[in-house]
């Protein structure tokens, strides 16, 4: 039964109809959560004992950084799915996710720079965390422009999938850079193993903002994948019915 469900969902047509059904619920749900968390974080949490008010950009910086890495992993999973099972939907997802990933990485870099000025006293330093995140951003841009440079979509999908898998090595490097080398960037406040080193009154809105931002970015991915499907399957008869 599960196999049948996956097979059905993997068809671009079913995917598109299901997405259209659930899209607005995901969107409003995450929008409300994000707005509540941001207002909570900006106005109803105390100042930080070292950084004062400037730490509040964490409610944008951390969700964006988290998503920039998660989206890349999602691309890597899609690539593996496409390469092994040749699921067309997976190929559409890779190229649908790439621009959204580039966008979140850009937000992470910019918000980090803005945060750096009042706290570190600089907006850019070539430490391991910042540099590896910049590499991630350039990788996203490279993957997008590579895919665009092909006229044969199928060839582009295959090449892209292989490159995404190779580039996935960068994700653990970004994650562990603050532990492996000395960096200006501080180490992680929230880990799976230890108690968070961020006070609960600041942590709850942070978790809310991550969940809300995650949902909003998923919505962007859904829209972008919808566009990819309609674009790539435009000659199929069901697309004409759908539009």
């Amino acid at each position: 039964m599960i196999k049948k469900f996956i097979h059905q969902f993997a068809s671009p047509k079913t995917y598109l109809y299901q997405v259209s059904r659930f899209y607005k619920y995901i969107f409003y749900f995450s929008l409300i959560i994000y707005i509540i968390s941001i207002i909570w974080g900006l106005f109803f949490t105390p100042e930080d004992f070292v950084q004062g008010n400037s730490y509040r950009i964490i409610y944008l910086h951390v969700p964006a950084s988290f998503l920039s890495q998660t989206l890349y992993l999602a691309m890597a999973i899609s690539s593996i799915t496409y390469l092994i099972w040749r699921v067309k939907l997976a190929a559409y997802l890779i190229i649908a996710i790439a621009p959204i990933g580039a966008m979140t990485t850009f937000i992470a870099l910019i918000s980090g720079s803005i945060w750096g000025i009042p706290t570190w006293g600089t907006w850019w330093q070539w430490d391991a965390r910042i540099t590896s995140t910049l590499i991630l951003f350039i990788m996203y841009l490279g993957l997008i422009s590579l895919h665009n440079s092909f006229s044969n979509h199928e060839k582009a999908d295959k090449l892209l999938s292989w490159l995404v898998i190779v580039g996935a090595v960068n994700i653990p490097i970004i994650k562990k850079s603050v532990d492996w080398w000395s960096t200006l960037h501080q180490s992680a406040s929230i880990t799976l193993t230890d108690k968070p080193s961020i006070d609960p009154v600041m942590l709850y809105p942070l978790i809310g903002s991550i969940v809300g931002f995650f949902g909003l970015v998923i919505c962007l991915v859904l829209l972008s994948s919808k566009y990819q499907i309609l674009h790539r399957e435009k000659n199929k008869s069901w697309v004409k019915d759908y539009v």
């Binding site: 930080d48 950084q51 706290t119």
Partner: protein, 136 residues
């Protein structure tokens, strides 16, 4: 699983193994060159030429900060070794005693003549009115 898919899985694993080991070798050989700063202990046994600019990181030793007109003098420590710093200019707001700092400058006669002083904060966030309990 059909043999074609099995072959594809193996080739993906091969590519992953290949790229992971390649990148690991590169990172391993670069090793300390990827560090953003030296600690005073790392500098102790090294002979750094006076014209080479280096970054030194650590904590500002408490009670060591001294301001004389527009210059500021302080000591960076990693609680094992320490280095004296002389700097002329404005330090970031987060610069204070017992807190992290990264200094770029030239080391001459065991004194670091700084060109740039950056503050480094840690991963702890909490409201100011809470007592810091040292349970770790």
């Amino acid at each position: 699983m059909n043999p074609i898919r099995k072959k594809r899985i193996y080739s993906i694993l091969f590519v992953l193994l290949f790229s992971v080991s390649g990148i690991s070798l590169i990172l391993y050989s670069l090793n300390s060159n990827l560090d953003y700063f030296f600690t005073p202990t790392e500098l102790k046994d090294r002979n750094i030429p006076a014209d080479k600019r280096i970054k030194v990181g650590g904590m500002v030793l408490s009670g060591s900060v001294e301001r004389i007109s527009s210059s500021i003098f302080f000591v960076i420590t990693d609680y094992e070794n320490s280095i004296k710093v002389e700097y002329e200019g404005i330090v970031p707001d987060l610069f204070k005693e017992d807190s992290g700092v990264v200094v770029l400058g030239n080391l001459r006669d065991k004194i670091l003549y700084a060109e740039e002083v950056l503050a480094k904060h840690d991963e702890n966030y909490m409201p100011p009115n809470i007592e810091i309990n040292d349970d770790n």
